[in-house]
């Protein structure tokens, strides 16, 4: 037989000798990912409080439909994102993007289409759009870092896709945190500009994913 297969044979014998060992050393995804998610939400909220501060009438608007629309929308997006992160770090699973994001998309689209609030799409202030998207992106950065490092405990095999999904989840966590500061109560504004901010973070994740997630 080929001489160059000898080292492989030796390697196999060495690996086989380790059978049954080492299980306790591997970090468990089912712990690491939820921890990263909780940290992301706290960190993003911290950033939003520091940059923008909660809106002054937060307590009054909490039970209103406009505020709930933002929160429910972002929770749905984040839930889909979390599920995608969960699947993309497991080699045997194919992330079914469309299915996981359908509820969030349907919710946001319905809200935007039936938006009768009369709030302008470009926001109530000159810099509404920049403020909104900018703050969401800033709030997403620590979340993105936490999610990407947690994903290293798993085995992502399509790194750009995994990075994009990490960015998507981070962006939606940023969007969720920003709801406490956002003054624009139009559903269309939320559906459009929050989504664009999330897409930016997803693009950032896709671009740095291959570098950071390599194994």
């Amino acid at each position: 037989m080929n001489d160059n297969r000898q080292p492989t044979d030796d390697l196999i014998r060495g690996l086989a000798a380790q059978a049954g060992k080492g299980a306790s050393l591997s970090l468990r995804l089912s712990i690491v990912l939820p921890v990263a998610l909780v940290f992301s939400i706290l960190a993003a909220t911290g950033v939003v409080v520091m940059i923008a501060g909660p809106r002054s009438d937060l307590m009054q608007i909490l039970p209103t439909w406009t505020f709930l629309f933002k929160v429910i929308g972002m929770v749905l997006v984040a839930a889909g994102g979390f599920h995608l992160v969960w699947t993309v770090v497991q080699p045997s699973q194919v992330p079914r993007t469309v299915i996981f994001l359908a509820p969030a998309l349907a919710f946001l689209l319905t809200g935007a289409l039936f938006d009768r609030s009369g709030f302008p799409l470009l926001g109530v202030h000159t810099y509404s759009v920049l403020n909104c998207a900018g703050t969401i992106i800033m709030a997403s950065i620590p979340a993105l870092a936490a999610i990407l490092s947690a994903m290293r405990a798993g085995t992502p095999t399509r790194l750009s896709q995994a990075g994009a999904i990490a960015g998507f989840l981070a962006g939606s966590v940023g969007g969720l945190a920003y709801t406490i500061a956002c003054l624009n109560d139009g559903a269309a504004f939320v559906a459009v500009w929050y989504s664009i901010a999330i897409a930016c973070v997803a693009a950032l994740g896709a671009s740095i994913g291959p570098k950071l997630l390599r194994w």
């Binding site: 080929n2 001489d3 160059n4 297969r5 080292p7 492989t8 390697l11 196999i12 014998r13 690996l15 086989a16 000798a17 380790q18 059978a19 049954g20 060992k21 080492g22 299980a23 591997s26 995804l29 497991q90 080699p91 045997s92 699973q93 798993g154 085995t155 095999t157 399509r158 390599r214 194994w215």
Partner: protein
């Protein structure tokens, strides 16, 4: 049913209870099929098969170090496929990069690209012949069969009456010598 999925999944489960023999048998069978895939891929990409064993070993180590991440309730083969695919792509990127650095010439060499008129194998078969005849007989035969007549290593081995591995080694050795020789000759004939 005794499919590959069942056999391998059983061995991977046995590994968790410390069954080295079952795990070793699985690793051997898995390595053999990874080797076939890697060799086919490297051939398709035009890379030398010398790297094949390295890639096979990388796949084995990757599977081994992540074996506890496999969820026993899920199919094993898709899990193995995804890891193998990832490592093969990773290796071909690396090989592609290496190949680029190997052929990357200095500014001077690029500038002088068309000045090697004397050594142009298309125009000067005599030159090639002269260089080849300076090689040891075994290497000469390998270069003639593979390099000039375009035979596969298998055909060349059969013709020369040697093994495939030996022919491959001889061919690569002689290529190295020929390249060195042309570099020595090239600038002198400018």
């Amino acid at each position: 049913m005794d499919t590959r999925e069942d056999r391998w999944a059983k061995a991977m489960r046995a590994e968790r209870t410390g069954d080295s023999a079952a795990y070793e048998a699985f690793l051997r069978a898995f390595a053999a099929s990874v080797r076939r895939i890697v060799e086919a891929h490297l051939r398709y990409m035009g890379f030398s098969l010398y790297e094949a064993e390295d890639v096979v070993q990388e796949v084995l180590i990757a599977v081994h170090s992540r074996r506890h991440q496999w969820d026993t309730k899920r199919s094993l083969l898709p899990w193995l496929n995804a890891i193998t695919r990832y490592k093969i792509i990773d290796a071909s990127r690396r090989l592609g990069r290496d190949a680029r650095t190997r052929v990357d010439l200095t500014e001077e060499q690029w500038a002088g690209l068309f000045s090697f008129e004397v050594f142009d194998p298309e125009r000067n078969p005599a030159d090639v012949e002269k260089l080849i005849s300076a090689l040891p007989p075994g290497e000469q035969a390998a270069v003639r069969a593979i390099g000039l007549e375009g035979a596969s290593t298998k055909e060349a081995a059969a013709r020369i009456g040697s093994t495939e591995g030996a022919v491959r080694v001889a061919f690569h050795r002689s290529l190295k010598k020929l390249m060195a020789a042309t570099q020595r000759r090239g600038p002198g004939h400018e």
